[in-house]
């Protein structure tokens, strides 16, 4: 691909993987499984998960780190997979929505299910991941902590009522880290 290939507007840059250079050997674990992948160092974690590993529970939406649909846990902390590149994941433990709840549902997932904390469900994996990340840090967060932790997760369907009820239920049920 020629060097002078440029997208016409910055607005269209969202979602672009940085074009190929020398490949990078990414050694990491995804959902507890050790992996070694030869990928361009600038390949986004979102593309690695969805395209290379076919883990489509991590969703593609805004691709600029605003909406939270692609949230995953990297070493236990929630990050936007659309903003994270392969070279930043070396040695990391990555957990996606598919990796939560080894036997059945994680308590946070169960709380979302029972309280109706979702409608179309497209934001749900990212939302659940952010809640799990929050409760790992702080098992009994105040309302302000919840608002801060979920400020990067947009839900267009529920109006957040069901989501707040689910978060409160997860807190009450005492989610273990």
């Amino acid at each position: 691909m020629p060097d002078n290939f440029r997208l016409e507007e910055m607005g269209e840059m969202a979602g672009a993987d940085i074009p190929a250079g020398p490949l990078y050997t990414l050694n990491c674990t995804v959902n507890g499984r050790a992996l070694s992948l030869e990928v361009p160092p600038g390949r986004r974690l979102l593309s690695i998960l969805r395209e290379d590993l076919e883990l489509t529970g991590t969703k593609r939406s805004c691709e600029i780190g605003r909406c939270g649909a692609c949230m995953v846990l990297v070493d236990g902390r929630p990050v936007n997979a659309c903003l994270t590149m392969a070279y930043q994941c070396g040695g990391a433990e990555i957990t996606t929505i598919e990796g939560l709840g080894e036997a059945g549902l994680h308590p946070v997932q169960r709380a979302f299910l029972e309280e109706g904390g979702f409608q179309c469900g497209y934001c749900t994996p990212g939302m659940v991941i952010s809640v799990v990340g929050l409760l790992r840090e702080n098992p009994s967060p105040a309302q302000e902590d919840i608002e801060e932790a979920l400020s990067g997760n947009i839900c267009r369907c529920t109006g957040y009522g069901g989501i707040m009820r689910a978060v409160n239920k997860a807190i009450e049920s005492g989610v273990s880290p």
Partner: protein
Amino acid sequence: MLLNKESSGSRWRIRPDGQDKVSGKLQYLTDMAAEGMLTGRVLRAQQAHARILSICTEAALAVPGVHAVITHEDVPGLNGFGIALPHQPVFCYDRVRYTGDAIAAVAAENDAIAEYALSLIQVEYEPLPLLEDAEEAMKPEAILLHEEGNVLHHTEYRRGDPDEAFGACAHVVEETYFTPRQMHTYMETEGGLFIPESNGRLTVYSATQHGLMDRRQLSRILALPEEDIRVVSSPIGGSFGGKDELNVQPYGALLALRTRRPVRLHNSRYESVRAGLKRHPMKITMKTGCDSEGQIVAHRVRIISDTGAYATLGAEVLNFATEHVIGPYRIPHVEVEGFAVYTNNGVSGEFRGFGGNQAIFALEGQVDRLAQQLGLDPWELRRRNLRQYGDPGPLGQPIAQTHGAVQVWEALKASPLLRAAEDGGCEGEGSDSQPEGQLPPWIVTGTGAALAMHGAGLGYGIPDPAGGRLSLALDGKIEAVFGYEEFGQGLIATMEQMLVEQFGFAGDDLRIIIGDTDVVPDSGSSTASRSTSMMWMALQRLRPEFTAQLLETAAATTGEPAGELKLGCGGVWKGCSLLISYAQLARGLKEPLVCETKFQYPTTPLQRVGAHFLYTYSAIAVRVELNLLTGRVRITDQYHAVAAGPVANPQGYLGQIEGGSSMAVGFTLSEDAVMTGGAYVTKNMDTYLVPTLIDMNGRIQVEAIEDLPEHDTYGPRGIGEIGSVHLAPAVAAAIFQAVRKRVNKLPVEPELLQETFFTTQKAVGSYAG
């Protein structure tokens, strides 16, 4: 009844699609992949209005890894789409009219190659004058965007003699209201997978709100018989009206048929913004007059609706607005005129509320302004003018009669929010708001309310089919097959709940099939708050026959008398014991037991296109905290009283009202897809501001009024839109109560509400101390 999990008891059910949604296992259509799949991309117009002089695709086609580059020359059938008027070019050839217009499409080995190929397609343009303003576009000297003129649709409605009536009015208010270009912002952007089958058929896995309509449109474009196209349309990551029209489907289908390979498209957010539908920005001018007693006598309305470059359902949205600017009030003298006007601003189309949101903001604003002139409580003024049981609909048409308008008025009157506002104080127990005395001096509060009636169904004169099928399949499952789509609203859950509650089946007995044109009957579209009503009415029709068939088959199989049997969990029961399971019953069958029904959505007999027959009524009160330093508004409390007949699915109902209200909060306070020069300034969700959890951290209470008149046969009314249509005027009223400023433009501009005197008074410092 205040609707919540506790008050719903065992009727609060876990959604059948929930397990897969919370676990991330649910495969959306944009998550799908296929062996040998190519990536499709679309080249959009680089100018908002221009003549196309030439299109050169040779260089793109020569890129290794590119399998096809197609343009208007490669459309075998009609080079156009649009539900009502198929005039939006699949590919432009002589002219582009907005920056979402498609010129070419590419199928390539991967996205990077496709993107590179797009950059090599040379299009020569000759700029044409830009029409950015609907009223400019209506002038005789304006360049024509379409041969038939720049007015897509003109509406008129008149009764009485408004000219004379205004002369006799004691009070008259005149105001012009402006509403924003709201974006649906479904979290899943448009996309899907398109597979050319070995038998010559095409399978389309792509979101829509009416699979059979997509199939019809694609058939025209591809010059393929409808039977050769299968459209699978669920599950969907949100739609809100925005995926009702075709979007990526023509490109995916054409590329797949050309390359004979599966092709996947999935719009980036910016492409979704650029090409996708928006809510019609409207300018609504109203003159409304009443007598000295507060009887509204005359009402004159002019609506200018910016419909953008192509029609889609712009005419139907204007019809809806024309009906809803009259609303639930008895007004003898009315004159409404509306224009849906083509411009080079995107494409406006179908969006939750369908023109009602804009109309109700303006109408309710008028009532509040009249109350102010009269020195009367605005809620009392509504009572004096409110429609009563037996009154015709807004256009004088016969409608299904209920007491809905009065019921919601009364419920709101008795609500803690309005009672607290009357007492001049703050609501006490359980309120999210802080007591007045503890607020910083730059925070002021206000309470406001609004009322709405909102039509459902497509209205008179528009084909609006309904129907469905129940069967006992040979594997023993009870199958419910309907032509609807699940985009999050909970339609599958509602169907399951109705089957469980009405027939006695268990959830596990059921297999619900929707969203696949190869197997579903024509149930009409999943739009216009119609599907719950139509599923309920279909089951009413199917229940006697299907129940009888199952019981008679059970009787024949077991030798027990049918009259002593009943349907239940797992099978047919006699008394308290399970007699025969559905699986055992099915074993004796050679063919499935099938019952099917077909009917039409009920319509008014008045011959006026789009006039509605079934309505949902709702009243809302809100309490706001207004920050005079930032000019920002926070909604601390919402109270919705909704009269929509029986609650079919409590979790779904509550979710629709809460979610609808969140969308209305955005419409009122933060959302506007800003365009200049025909291009979007807001390209993504960093500048297009959808409410977040912090914006929605106030309390929302939903009171569901379920009573219907005894003779009513229409059952549950739609609630998909009603939560989103009347919050804006309630917030405007609350702002007025707080700071005596009238809002006539949405979203509310902080500059309108910001005060500077606090800084000069050093109020910040003194409070902090």
